[in-house]
Amino acid sequence: MKMSLTSRLVWFFSIITLAVLISLGAVLTQAVDHHFQEMDLSELQLKHQQIQYQLQRTEANSGPVALTGELDYLLPRQLGWQFIMFDKDDQPYYASNVALYDIRWDQLEANKLISIHLGENHYRGFLDTQQTTSDWRVLALLNIDHHDHFMQYFLQILWVSLVLAVLLMTGLGWLVMKRALKPLKRMSELASKVSSEHLGERIVLQDLPSELRELAGVFNAMLDRLEASFQRLSQFSADIAHELRTPVNTLLTQSQVALSKARSIEEYQEILASNIEEFECLARMISDMLFLAKADKGTLIPAHERVHLATEAQRVIDYYQLLASEQNIQIKLEGDAVVLGDSVMLGRALANLISNAVRYADPGSEIDVALSQVDHHAIIEVTNQGVEIPLEHRSHLFDRFYRVEPERSHDGGVGLGLAITRSIVEAHGGQIELANETHKTCFRISLPLSPRS
């Protein structure tokens, strides 16, 4: 499992703090050490000048023994000084400490600070190779134990504060992270609450930091889409159940009543024939719903052939004209348009609209089917004279199972015709709309000449 975001961030912060503090400590240590060396150097150089002066003055009037006495006086042991005197052959002549006789002149590096340990004590010296007139040369050593002690103490303080700082950083970082990531936690709590019963939950965007607002917006939009499709789905299932109940109930009652007593063959035949009518209605409903389900899934893929809309429309009109002339209605066709699409599907869409127009047209009136080509679209308009569709029904007209007049459900299908028409039009990348005028109903389809080219 991956580490949580909080612990990961805290971990990063702690490591960064540690690294920064260690570098800072190293720089400080270096600086202090350097400062001490400078101090020692200037003290040693000052002493060196005094020694040179003493050497010149004493050498002229007395021997080396007197010189050592002078040097003992100039470099007092109780103040932490030690020294060693070399003769002109670079051999140690006199040293303030026995251990110093081991030092060879040629082992010493010139013009550099020299570090020498005598027992437990730490000394620093400086060998000046400036040309002098004297035969003698002196290496003065300064005790720097107090520097060492200070450095030790300084490092201790540094380490302790470093550990404390990291611990503090970890703790505080954790608290801050918790606080900063609270909106995320709220989002996840909300997401865990979302279920089919609670699809209405949304994240309040105003409370969120700007970085999360976009994510939350996308999340909300996803919930919107889910809720819409879920509602459509459950509405559709409810509608199906409702629509199936009536014919199934009829069939059940009819068959049970038929069996409740012995009947003549003619009666049985009558009942079976009536059952067939109900079954045919059910079968048509099922295939219509499968068609719509395919459209919903996006698997309704129209063929890609040249369709002369006038030819298709004429065929459909020839068919429905028979029914229309019963009411003395004339169906007129004008114009033409050629689109790339599926002739069977488009024929079905046309048939649905024309059948609809015939059903609601005034007797003796005229139905107009107008085809035209505007810009890159083919326009199909089917207009009939007749009572216009009431305002409250217009927005639902293309919904499944929606009927303007529920009581007239039995003569014209189950209210899937316009939904199927819309699915076909949309599968072709087009649009369908209703244009109502006074005492006129006009369905207008707009199809791109070549969908998804």
């Binding site: 063959i265 003619e266 035949q269 009558e270 079976l272 024939a273 009536s274 059952n275 067939i276 009518e277 079954f279 045919e280 059910l282 079968a283 048509r284 099922i286 295939s287 219509d288 499968l290 395919k294 698997t299 893929i301 065929r315 459909v316 020839d318 068919y319 429905y320 028979l322 029914l323 019963e326 069977v344 024929g347 079905r348 048939a351 059948s355 014209g412």
Partner: protein, 247 residues
């Protein structure tokens, strides 16, 4: 009176399509009730039906006997309809094949037709529709070109585009002529409304079949009104039938 034709609708076929009794049909369908009723229906329509209830049995039967037509369900246990068809074709069993499918997906149709199926029906389908298609497939190859069609005293001259009843000329519109031609060519068969809409008006999708009713009513007015016996009959719940009831 009309109802009497229901019982006749299938049984009658023995007389008209007396060749049907020689027709052997292989039916492969796993759904028990459907299979039994299909077998009964087809047998009563005069066909000699052998039923297999799964793909392997079906293949067995196909390799053992000779048939004139195969009706295959697509979803079968053992061997599905497509595989069965392929196996049959491999063994040179080249009878016409009609598929019954519950999945009306484009890919299925394409696949079926690529494999050499001759027709397909999507469930749920009307039995009359199946019967009509079976007869078309069964007749395939032995339909002689005719220019005269007739039933009782009804005569149709296809070349002269002329129809007479009892010697009197009937004035028909082109669509009425096409409708009557269909009824005459397939006389004695119950033709479902959807089949009529598809054949005469080329309406190959579910449409308002009230139109067919109107068309039949008008045709009947011209063909049957004032004449005896009545030739155009409605078989309720099934479709329309052209036959001479006195025969």
């Amino acid at each position: 009176m009309v109802l009497a034709f229901i019982s006749k609708a299938f049984g009658h076929k023995r007389k008209h399509a007396n060749k049907a009794s020689d027709m052997k049909i292989l039916l492969v369908e796993d759904e028990a009730k459907t299979a039994d009723y299909l077998k009964q229906g087809l047998s009563e329509a005069g066909f000699n039906v052998s039923l297999a209830r799964d793909g392997l049995d079906g293949l067995h039967l196909a390799l053992e006997e000779d048939f004139d037509l195969a009706i295959l369900d697509v979803m079968l246990p053992g061997l599905d309809g497509w595989q069965l068809l392929q196996a049959m074709r491999k063994q040179d069993r080249n009878w016409p094949v009609l598929f019954l499918t519950a999945r009306d997906q484009v890919q299925d149709r394409v696949k079926g037709l690529e494999l050499g199926a001759d027709d397909y029906l999507v469930k749920p389908f009307a039995f009359a529709e199946l019967l009509a298609r079976v007869r078309v497939l069964a007749r395939r190859g032995n339909s002689a070109v005719q220019d005269q069609l007739s039933l009782a005293d009804l005569q149709m001259d296809l070349l002269a585009h002329k129809v007479t009843r009892q010697g009197q000329r009937l004035d028909l519109t082109p669509k009425e002529f096409a409708l009557l031609e269909l009824l005459l060519r397939r006389q004695g068969e119950v033709l479902p409304r959807t089949l009529i809409a598809a054949q005469v008006w080329d309406m190959n999708f579910d449409s308002d079949t009230n139109v067919v009713e109107v068309a039949i009513r008008r045709l009947r007015a011209k063909v049957d009104e004032g004449y005896e016996p009545k030739l155009i009959h409605t078989v309720r719940g099934m479709g329309y039938l052209l036959e001479d009831p006195t025969e």
